[in-house]
């Protein structure tokens, strides 16, 4: 019997101890009329047989050369990361409720929180949320609880923020009557200009969301945006890529004015680039960090360092009075567990890379994307869309609909980018492309060659 250790002898002795004749008798309290008939699901198979099926299905999906980013990024994952994360002691443990028997997980989360504080320049981090998009939704709910100066529940959501994140924030936070106001971007620069915020000056607004780099890969003028928000008593929610923070000013330091608070108030984002595979969209993890003064409004688990009965340091879950199992309907969120295993991977990843390695990854990704955008822009009918400086993504404009071009590339084993036609029809035939450190010069050449071939077949033939 699959994964069930009971021998016939065990079963009869156990039934005897209980005082029933059969296992079926144990279900006597379920009303007879409700009992299920035979399930219409396939019969069980052995590991060998299923292994073959799974390998066939995986092989069919292939291993394309990928230039899509848009919130999920392909980076090198060091071998130790998953070799250790899949150790049974991490993989098959649960939330560290029994702190004394979970010091490994707890210390690791404390180290993770410390690393996220270092990267973001913030004072406190939680133990993770589900993913970047839902972390933004939680950040919006947290901002409403935190910003007592505002009563409107209005949040400014620039259109340069990942549009799926905006959808998720609406789906989750919208149930609590939070209104999101779209703020337009500069069509030539590809970032959010201060002028598009000016109409909201002096109004009752809860928060401004700033994504850095933004969805187009462009760098926002984060100091200006942060100062403007704080002058208007608006909280700043930063959405950041953790790898980019090796090069970019951390959100805890955004802003230049000395008469208002420095730094973003809530920082969140997608943790996937830190050692988590693309895996068709998940599991990833969301991160969140904030100022110490707001820690009691932060959702999710938090680990603290304390002392044991002998006065020696140890770790435990803390500030649990914020959480659903204590506060029930008054909790900061209904979130219960987080994405512990992904955090394990990320903490190992950050330890192996360190500041020097992470900076190298970020710098190489920056250069590769510049090379990619330059190479592809040399193909007739392709040009860069925006002038703002960027990190590791770029929007390119084609002279024809992108979908058939991307489909032709996919037939050659190249995922050439994300078609923006549905998300940003006003941009025309736009695609979003990405190159990380995993893309070598030869990969970029293959893409550029294939694109030239597809877009200008006669020229390529000549």
């Amino acid at each position: 019997m699959a994964f069930i250790p009971h021998t016939p002898d065990d079963i009869s002795r156990m039934l005897e101890a209980i005082g029933v004749r059969s296992i079926d008798d144990l279900f006597e309290e379920i009303p007879a009329g409700l009992r299920a008939g035979a399930l219409k699901v396939p019969e069980g198979v052995g590991e060998m047989e299923l292994g073959r099926l799974m390998s066939e299905r995986a092989a069919g999906d292939g291993r394309p050369l990928n230039f899509i980013g848009a919130g999920a990024y392909e980076h090198h994952i060091p071998a130790p990361v998953w070799a250790i994360a899949t150790r049974g002691e991490f993989y098959s443990a649960y939330t560290p409720y029994q702190a004394e028997a979970s010091q490994g997980t707890l210390q690791l989360i404390y180290e993770y929180q410390s690393m996220m504080c270092a990267l973001t320049g913030m004072e406190v981090s939680n133990a993770s949320l589900y993913d970047g998009a839902s972390a933004l939704a939680e950040a919006c709910l947290m901002a409403v609880r935190t910003n007592r100066a505002a009563t409107s529940r209005r949040i400014l959501m620039p259109r340069s923020v990942n549009p799926t994140y905006a959808c998720v924030a609406r789906a989750i936070a919208g149930n609590q009557d939070i209104a999101f106001e779209a703020v337009d971007f500069d069509r030539s620069a590809g970032r959010t200009p201060l002028e598009s915020l000016k109409p909201y000056g002096g109004q009752d607004i809860t928060a401004l969301v700033v994504q850095q780099p933004n969805f187009f890969g462009c760098l926002e003028e984060v100091d200006q945006l942060t100062d403007w928000a704080h002058q208007n008593k608006i909280l700043v929610i930063a959405v950041v890529n953790p790898i980019s923070l090796a090069l970019l000013k951390p959100p805890g330091h955004w802003g230049e004015r000395i008469d208002v608070a420095r730094g973003a108030d809530i920082v969140c984002g997608e943790g996937q680039p830190l050692g988590v595979p693309l895996s068709a969209g998940g599991p990833y993890f969301g991160f969140m960090a904030t100022r110490m003064q707001y820690v009691r409004q932060m959702p999710g688990r938090i680990v603290g360092r304390t002392l044991d009965a002998d006065g020696r340091p140890g770790f435990s879950l803390t500030l649990q009075a914020r959480e659903q199992h204590i506060r029930r309907s008054k909790a900061t969120s209904n979130i219960c567990t987080n994405q512990g295993l992904m955090v394990t991977a990320a903490t190992i990843y950050l330890s192996l890379l360190g500041a020097a390695g992470l900076e190298r990854v970020a710098a190489v990704s920056l250069q590769r994307t510049a090379d990619l955008a330059a190479s592809l822009s040399r193909v007739a009918g392709v040009r860069a869309a925006f002038t703002a400086p960027r990190f590791h993504e770029a929007v390119l404009l084609l002279d024809r609909p992108a979908a058939p071009v991307l489909a032709a590339l996919a037939r050659r084993g190249i995922f050439g980018g994300l078609d923006l036609a549905e998300r940003y029809p006003e941009l025309g035939h736009a695609i979003l492309v990405c190159a990380t450190e995993t893309k070598l010069a030869a990969d970029i050449d293959s893409y550029a060659g294939a694109l030239a071939d597809i877009m200008n077949p006669s020229r390529a033939a000549a």
């Binding site: 144990l26 029994q98 998009a133 998720v168």
Partner: protein, 489 residues
């Protein structure tokens, strides 16, 4: 258990400037791409600088400071800590699955697995359709209540904003209702653990959006009046939400759809054995009956002829929307699919049978040894509650003391102080994958601890004695917040 008496410095304390795991660095790229000075970071982040071996040894040693299913019996009630088959991880980590970008062309092999998973979950729950998008049980709950709200609004009945939950409900139920903008009405259970029908009748009305129920309940017993509960709530115009926390108890025996539930979430990390990972990632797939079909969260997997594809806003314009940046916890769902295929039809029915056999056996043995079951007249489901209120009176011993002492005996503690309405309780869920001799050893440990209560109670009140740390000062943790390591100034 002296092997657990490890101490391990913080990784930051192992760090030395200039040390690197440079094999993991990409070669430098040559070019002129640069970040403008005013957007650049001024000083590098304070991350550790360690060698590859130091990192490997550090995290391996940390892992050894954990109890886990692979190393210990872990009868944590309401969490279903069963064996996580290694094949589920191995096949889900095939390089083609891991390398797949979520926004590329639709991967037919992966989607075939997801489509079949939807179909299997639909069949075993008796629902009309399933969405795999929610990323955890709590998000599945959120999706369920949001769908109930959307349903009432679509009928211009938007005033229905009260969610009824039994007092014994898990804390996520009321927290979820509040997140969906609903108010919460709690109703009591009777002395046998069933919902108090008179209180339910008094609670329902024109403001009732629905009721959230776990069955078997968090009291570890099957809700026998479920058909009557369903009738009362439906007649009042409300819908029934099934919290799938305890689905392991009834797999293949009774289907939530047949009990009258309109919506269900499943914890794939419990019933379908995906790893708990030290607290996630989970997966909280939702299933619905006919009334809620239009509102399911996206994306889902559909099939056009032989081709699988994502169903999006276009296919489901009334959907409550997207709950994740991409496709939910896709890799977790893949592990659940592999588990279900390994078990198959008979294997799934055996899950409920042997989980129930193990729980009832353990309960009878503990009762025979003098422990008090909270609901002695009832059959245990897949779990049961022991109350230590008598021991507490006689020896001033708490459930927490017993939990901590069990660690010294090499067992993870059961869930303590939940459900809140049973004093000094242990909620014990052995699961179907434990052998009789492991249950017996656990029982023997509790009997030995009981003897210690009489003879050496200080052994309990000061437990644990063999873990890497002694009992921790939680008050200090919350008052003198130390939430991150900081480099010396």
């Amino acid at each position: 258990m002296t092997d657990l008496q490890l101490r391990e410095p913080l990784i930051f304390e192992l760090s030395r400037p200039g040390r690197q795991a440079s094999t993991q660095f990409p070669p430098p790229a040559f070019g002129s791409a640069e970040i403008p000075a005013h957007l650049r970071r001024a000083a590098p982040p304070a991350l550790p600088a360690v060698s590859e071996l130091q990192a490997v040894r550090h995290f391996t040693r940390l892992s050894q400071m954990n109890f886990s299913i692979d190393t210990h019996f872990y009868p944590l009630g309401s969490c279903t800590m069963k064996y996580n088959p290694k094949a589920c991880n191995a096949f889900a980590m095939l390089p083609e699955f891991l390398g797949r970008h979520p926004l590329g062309p639709e991967p037919q092999g992966f989607l075939a697995c997801m489509y079949e998973l939807q179909e299997m979950l639909q069949e075993i729950t008796g629902m009309q359709a399933v969405s795999l998008t929610p990323m955890a049980g709590a998000q599945g709950e959120f999706a369920g209540v949001a769908m109930i709200r959307a349903y009432h609004r679509s009928r211009n009945d938007g005033g229905r904003n009260e969610i009824i939950v039994p007092q014994a409900a898990h804390g996520t139920n009321p927290a979820t209702a509040a997140m969906c903008g609903c108010s919460v009405k709690e109703i009591p259970c009777d002395e046998n653990g069933d919902v108090d029908i008179d209180s339910l009748k008094a609670a329902v009305g024109p403001a009732t959006a629905g009721i959230m129920l776990t069955n078997p309940s968090t009291l570890g017993v099957f809700e026998r009046k479920i058909t009557e509960v369903a009738r009362i709530v439906h007649e009042a115009g409300g819908l029934l939400y099934y919290d799938g926390a305890n689905l392991n108890a009834i797999l293949g025996k009774v289907r939530p759809g047949d009990m009258g539930f309109d919506v269900i979430h499943m914890n794939l990390h419990k019933t379908f054995s995906t790893p708990h990972g030290g607290g996630g990632p989970g997966s909280g797939a939702v299933g619905v009956g006919a009334r809620l079909l239009p509102f399911l969260p996206i994306p889902m997997v559909g099939k056009d002829g032989a081709r699988f594809r994502w169903l999006t806003e276009r296919d489901l314009p009334h959907s409550i929307g997207r709950l994740s940046g991409f496709m939910g916890n896709a890799g977790v769902n893949l592990r659940a699919y592999i588990y279900m295929r390994l078990l198959g039809r008979e294997g799934m029915v055996r899950v409920a049978e042997f989980a129930t056999l193990n729980a009832n056996y353990l309960m009878k043995r503990l009762e025979a040894a003098g422990f008090e079951a909270a609901y002695p007249s009832r059959r245990a489901s897949h779990e049961f509650i022991i109350t230590l209120k008598r021991e507490n009176r006689l020896y001033q011993i708490t459930a927490m003391d017993v939990a901590k002492r069990l660690l010294d005996y090499g067992f993870h503690a059961p869930t303590t102080y939940f459900p809140l309405l049973v004093p000094e309780c242990l909620l014990i869920e052995p699961t179907e994958t434990e052998a009789k001799e492991d249950l017996d050893r656990f029982c023997d440990a509790l009997i030995a601890i009981r003897r210690e209560m009489e003879q050496e109670p200080e052994k309990l009140s000061s437990a644990p004695h063999t873990m890497p740390v002694r009992r921790l000062d939680d008050v200090r943790a919350a008052k003198q917040l130390d939430l991150a390591w900081k480099p010396a100034a």
